[in-house]
């Protein structure tokens, strides 16, 4: 049975072609991945399938019948559901209330909560989503919230799910849980379309993989009958070799840039967030911090930046910076790539050139200390856009209009401006595609060679091992192990992160 068949889909915007001659066949009860670089046309294609945009040419067949979607409600009626990357849930409502919101079962004038609750339990059990209808969404973790989103579309009768970059917001064990849930869905006859650019994940879950490059479908691979590797996929995606995050040769000097002693961040509970952590970073050194998310990384970074109260001492280039404000640290050459780019890294409602100033508003080229210098800031924004390949029509667009990957490239470009001495980078390549990831790595390596000290926090173990000169493992707020990036494997590092076993 074929669930979805797209043939000869074209979508043109004035001057450009977003999709050209897309042909795609998705088998029922399978997981079909769609991979491609940022801007390859994946999103446009999914918008067409979900009825948010109309194709200029081509036909869409759902379960064998040709259909025309003029709005998402048409595609919902045809049994297609979309789970967006960003969750649309009301925190202060329960799972039940969130799921029925907008399609409440009525009994007379009142809502039939019992019926809805039973229905939700039934769906949750039959697809093993493990959700309780009465839990408050605000008390759920990210992985659970995502399953609530999935439940929402299943509740509305979807048999074909589109998941847009579902793993972007998840930590490794949540990814495993999601994949478990997706396998459950598949076995119950649900079709899953899975959009991603994380190739190892795609290989782990997909039955078939369609590669999109420059707006057109390049090929479809079957992981059951063909042996596919991540390298081959990447080559198909970008038309070139998969970049590796290797730092090639040591540039570590003996000049200490950051010296942290006995840093402690209280949590208000018995166990502090960060528990007596001490380390040095030298000029030209990248120190990687490995750890399962939530083990004190965020608090460590915030304490170093001065946005969270801490005890202990912090020396920057030999000067006591323990009591410096965030701005003093920034002015002293500390660059900061925050973990949550839309909340901490950008003013979403401000134009790009104003975002160039953010965090550096007291320094050249953005201001002379008192007055802003918009002309110089704009010129420098243009430089970042071209050096970091930020895909944008101009520097006056609002930051919120850019895709996540391009926002990230912009932030990295901004923070690498003006020869920083120390870079504190949380997940610097999160959400960017392989090509852009390689470019960011190159920029980091160049800066490191010029003497930049880097504190690197990443959930991507290959990145951590490839980029770092040394690695420390953070578990429950403490450094529990050191790892040598030259010899450690991701498996060993993963074990150390969960406290299973120490590494050398």
């Amino acid at each position: 049975m074929i669930a979805v068949e797209l043939s000869g889909i074209w979508k043109r915007f004035p001057g450009v072609i977003a999709n050209s001659n897309i042909n795609l066949i998705v088998e029922q009860a399978s997981v079909h991945a769609i991979v491609g670089e940022n801007g390859a046309g994946k999103s446009t294609l999914m918008k067409i399938l979900y009825g948010m945009q109309k194709p200029d040419e081509g036909t869409i067949k759902v379960n064998g019948t040709t259909t025309v979607f003029s709005s998402p409600s048409d595609s919902i009626a045809a049994g297609i559901g979309m789970v967006h990357q960003h969750f649309m849930l009301a925190d202060n409502l329960t799972v039940l209330e969130n799921v029925i919101l907008g399609s409440e079962p009525k009994r007379g004038l009142s809502i039939d909560f019992t019926k809805a609750s039973n229905r939700i339990k039934e769906i949750s059990d039959s697809y093993s989503l493990g959700l309780n209808p009465d839990d408050l969404v605000s008390e759920l973790g990210v992985g659970d919230r995502q399953r609530v989103e999935i439940l929402k579309v299943l509740y509305r009768g979807a048999r074909i799910l589109i998941l847009d970059e579902p793993t972007a917001v998840l930590v490794p064990h949540e990814v495993d849980e999601l994949f478990e849930a997706l396998r459950g869905l598949k076995s119950e006859g649900i079709t899953v379309m899975f959009i991603s650019h994380k190739l190892d994940e795609v290989l782990a879950i997909a039955d078939e993989i369609t590669v999109i490059r420059k707006g057109t479908t390049v090929t479809t691979l079957n992981t059951k009958t063909q042996k596919v590797t991540a390298e081959e996929l990447a080559t198909l995606m970008v038309g070139s070799e998969l970049p590796t995050p290797e730092t090639r040769g040591s540039t570590v000097t003996n000049r200490v840039v950051l010296a942290v002693k006995n840093l402690r961040v209280e949590s208000g509970q018995v166990k502090p967030h960060v528990d007596d952590v001490s380390f040095d970073i030298h000029a030209g050194e990248i120190l990687g911090i490995a750890g399962v998310e939530g083990n004190g990384q965020s608090e460590l970074v915030e304490a170093l930046m001065g946005t969270k109260l801490s005890t202990g001492t912090i020396f920057l280039n030999g000067v006591d910076a323990t009591n410096w404000s965030t701005r003093q640290k920034r002015e002293a050459g500390v660059a900061y790539i925050p973990e949550d780019r839309s909340r901490q890294g950008l003013l979403l409602e401000a134009p790009l050139w104003e975002n160039r100033m953010l965090g550096h508003q007291s320094q050249s080229p953005n201001s002379n200390g008192f007055l802003l210098t918009p002309k110089a800031a704009k010129a420098d924004t243009q430089r970042i856009i071209s050096e970091y390949d930020v895909r944008t029509p101009g520097l006056d667009v609002l930051a919120s209009a850019l895709s996540g990957g391009n926002q990230q490239k912009f932030i990295v470009g901004r923070e690498m401006s003006g020869e920083p001495k120390l870079l504190i980078a949380s997940h610097p390549t999160r959400g960017v595609d392989v090509g852009a990831q390689a470019a960011i790595w190159d920029h980091l390596r160049d800066a490191r060679a010029r003497g930049l000290a880097v504190l690197l926090i990443s959930a991507d173990l290959d990145e951590l091992i490839g980029m770092s000169d040394s690695i420390k493992v953070l578990l429950r707020g403490r450094f529990v192990a050191d790892a040598d990036p030259k010899s450690v494997t991701p498996q060993e590092l993963g074990n150390a992160m969960t406290g299973a076993k120490a590494v050398v």
């Binding site: 915007f13 004035p14 001057g15 450009v16 072609i17 977003a18 050209s20 940022n38 801007g39 390859a40 046309g41 999103s43 446009t44 420059k214 707006g215 930046m305 946005t307 404000s325 965030t326 701005r327 003093q328 640290k329 920034r330 900061y336 925050p338 949550d340 909340r343 901490q344 890294g345 950008l346 003013l347 979403l348 409602e349 401000a350 104003e354 100033m357 953010l358 965090g359 550096h360 508003q361 007291s362 201001s367 200390g369 008192f370 007055l371 802003l372 895909r391 944008t392 029509p393 667009v397 609002l398 919120s400 209009a401 850019l402 895709s403 391009n406």
Partner: protein, 358 residues
């Protein structure tokens, strides 16, 4: 490009005004009046030199009030306490002005400074409560309005600093000739225009300049747009909250001065007391932009003044209040719609620019 941007900015308020004119016309017809005739009478009446003077005077007062509110809005602070701040500031300013016998160029700046200081200190209480005790400024500023009224009544009691005025109410001693802010006249009008009109224009420029051209203004706007991003960028949010509330209060301290120093020369317990709420409406109308607020203040003043004629043509004057309400409501909705359209349009533009050309 530039003219297109201006057109974009004007679209929402124009739509809102047209909508409210249509609605007002419907109401006028329900009252049996001819809308076109009524509106043309209003416009004719407003075009007389006397009305123009009155409109400029009201607009000056409204402008100060709206800028005070807008400074708070830029930081996501809701200063509902402009009423209390300006009344207390004007009362103290009037007491100081009444006591000073220096020439105007010395006493007037002193009075302006004292009023701004008092407004700012009164707002500072709410700022302190917010920063150090986490009290919402919406609650504290509105409560402080009532305390201000009580405090003024206490200060103006004849046993304290006040006197019985000519109208047989309690007020401050009359400000001597030398302490009055000179105005100017429009030919054909008996009503002088407040000289503080120019101070309002100056304030508008300073507001724009500080907000858009200084680092301080950038810090302030960044907190308003995203407190978490501002913190990460090195802004001290508590300090900015303090500063902006103090600034808002200082500007609020100016609200009563045009009337005090330009027309009444004494602060009485009958001094108008609700310019602060008008300021909220006008700040919304003008989208916190100095030029937008100027147009908003003029429109509001025009409606206020021209409504005087309605009684003479047999239409209840309250219809103008309805119209003002409708304008504010519809302008807020229209701004939100145009904002969404703009974001959508930009996302499309980005989509097109980043989609791969064949």
């Amino acid at each position: 490009m530039k003219s297109k941007r201006i057109l974009d900015a004007l679209l929402a308020p124009m739509v809102a005004i047209i909508f409210s004119v249509v609605l007002a016309s419907v109401i006028l017809m329900l009252f049996g009046a001819n809308p076109i005739e009524t509106f043309s009478k209003m416009i004719n009446y407003a075009a007389t030199p006397r009305s123009i003077s009155l409109i400029l005077n009201s607009a000056t007062t409204y402008y100060f009030s709206a800028v005070a509110v807008a400074i708070g809005f830029k930081m996501n602070l809701f200063n509902i306490g402009v009423n209390g701040q300006y009344r207390l500031a004007t009362a103290v300013g009037a007491l100081v002005a009444g006591a000073l016998t220096f020439p105007g160029y010395i006493s007037i700046p002193i009075v302006i400074f004292v009023s701004m200081l008092v407004g700012s200190l009164w707002a500072g209480i709410a700022a302190w409560l917010k920063v150090y005790r986490g009290v919402s400024e919406v609650i504290s500023t509105i409560m402080l309005n009532f305390i201000a009224i009580g405090l003024i009544a206490y200060l103006l009691a004849p046993s304290m600093l006040g006197v019985q005025t000519a109208e047989n109410v309690v007020g401050t001693p009359v400000i001597p000739e030398s302490g009055r802010f000179p105005g100017f006249s429009i030919p054909g009008s008996q009503v002088p225009v407040y000289g503080m009109l120019f101070l309002a224009a100056l304030l508008g420029f300073a507001y724009w300049f500080i907000l858009n051209r200084t680092r301080f203004g950038f810090d302030l706007r960044s907190v308003g747009q995203s407190p978490s991003a501002a913190v990460a960028s090195g802004v001290n949010v508590k300090r900015m909250t303090m500063y902006s509330m103090l600034l808002s209060g200082a500007v609020a301290g100016l609200v009563g001065l045009p009337l005090l120093l330009g027309a009444q020369y004494s602060f009485t317990v009958n001094f108008p007391g609700s310019y602060g709420f008008t300021g909220i409406a006008i700040a919304l109308l003008g989208r916190n932009h100095p030029v937008g607020i100027a147009f908003g203040a003029l429109l509001w003043a025009f409606l206020d003044v021209s409504s005087q004629i309605l009684d003479l043509v047999g239409v209840p004057r309250e219809i103008i209040v309805i119209m003002q309400g409708v304008i504010v409501l519809s302008v807020v909705i229209a701004y939100e719609i145009t904002r969404r359209v703009k974001v959508r349009r930009q996302q499309d533009a980005v989509g097109k620019a980043t989609a791969v050309a064949q």
